[in-house]
Symmetry: C2
Subunit: 242 residues, 2 copies
DNA sequence: TTGAGAACTTGATCAGGATCAAGGTTTGCT
DNA sequence: AGCAAACCTTGATCCTGATCAAGTTCTCAA
């Protein structure tokens, strides 16, 4: 019988997400999933799927960054989700993609063919439960984003974006916090419902006001996290760093 | 053994949504659900739950209209969901409300205590599957809304809102389509990320341009549905009326 | 029927962010 | 190293939708 690969890497690639589920999956289930998985790497800028495409797989992000977006006929577009390592891609029970999925940096995905994946997970309530949880997490993020898009000023939008990045990508170092932005200014504008010029100007303004330090264009240092929280205008109990 | 009430009303009140699921629920499951359900009516304007409140129930809308919203400390608020009859309220597996839920008109809900509800549904994959589906539907709606909030003009926002209402509440009558708006101008502005004045002006403009007819302030007639589709700037294959 | 409050409309002015335009930096390829 | 392309910044101007300010029309209860 084949040895099941339970190294951290494999575990992180379980499309039902890291630890939480793996700890509840039986060896048989893991073996089944192992048989149907395959890795694929996309260059920066590549399209993973287009809206309306048949979705024949689910996947999880191993490394790199991807975005979900919707666009209008005239070219206006809005990013509706940001996918970082360990995030899940796919719509159990749905046949067609509802958004464009694009690799923003070089992107490696761990794919699972959808049919066999669904067969494995279909009758296992703990996996279904995890899928509900994933969907609700995404829903919360989307609704948080609706507040941002509908009601926040440009400056607050930028601060909120930095906050999200800081929570997921930041590493603390004494009082201050370092992170590398996963998106270009252009992609940020798509995410925030702004133009690239406004993003650039507001970044400059936050720097001028000492909310952040910039090294080059992507490396950000936040000297005072609570200051950033204020700027984001956030209601949520986000005083803690995850 | 008590007679299980399978009248349309009860079926429509199954929080896992009407027919689709009930047809797959066993008699025992339905009986269990029946035991733990209770109805409650809220006057217009009443708060059903506030963000952060412990959620001790799930429910479905029997009649009336409710809204989900998030607000900022300074009072700015954004509606993040609209609940019409047959819609589901609740977050399986979550303890606290993530949004405010407010009755917009007189609202009747069919409640289920959460603990026993989860006990009934916990080990039944077909219910879990349905819950995934519900969550994904809401996610699609939220992301569609993100495009609206981030990229559409005021006029397009109004048209899109009318479109949504038309799809769910409209009744056809020859070429044209009648509907009664479920929200006040004020609530519309909260939904669309606009001010009440802008909503009023754009409604007037659409009327002036013959996209809609108004009888009083809530009764709308759409003489040409495809015209409305154009105005909404929608990409989706919405040529059909559900 | 009348009156009070809520809901809605309309107008004038203002401002935040978009648009247009030009120049500067970084990155990666040969 | 040198060049082109992509990426980013900054400035000037414009325009959509916000804000401020009256009015008008509904709704409903006494």
């Amino acid at each position: 019988m084949t040895q099941i690969d339970l190294s951290p890497k494999t575990c992180a690639n379980c499309p039902i997400r890291p630890r939480a589920i793996c700890s509840r999956c039986t060896a048989d289930e893991l073996l089944e999933l192992d048989k149907i998985k395959y890795y694929k790497t996309y260059p920066a800028g590549a399209s993973v799927v287009l809206m309306g495409d048949p979705m024949t797989f689910v996947a999880s992000v191993v490394s790199g960054v991807a975005t979900l977006s919707r666009s209008m006929i005239d070219g206006r577009m809005q990013m509706v989700g940001l996918l970082l390592p360990s995030d899940f891609i796919g719509r159990p029970g749905r046949d067609k993609a509802s958004y464009d999925v694009t690799a923003v940096s070089e992107l490696t995905l761990c794919h699972f063919h959808k049919k066999p994946f669904e067969k494995v997970t279909h009758a296992t309530p703990h996996v279904q439960e995890r899928l509900v949880e994933i969907a609700l997490d995404e829903l919360d993020a989307a609704r948080e984003w609706m507040l941002l898009l509908g009601r926040k000023t440009a400056r607050e939008k930028i601060a909120s974006f930095l906050l999200i990045c800081a929570r997921r990508l930041g590493r603390k170092e004494g009082e201050s916090l370092h992170l590398e932005l996963p998106l270009t200014r252009d992609a940020m504008s798509d995410y925030l419902g702004l133009t690239i010029e406004t993003v650039s100007r507001q970044m400059a303004a936050l720097k001028r006001d000492g909310v952040l330090l910039l090294e080059g264009t992507r490396k950000v240092t936040i000297p005072d996290f609570s200051r950033l929280l204020d700027e984001a205008g956030d209601d949520s109990d986000g005083a803690t760093l995850s």
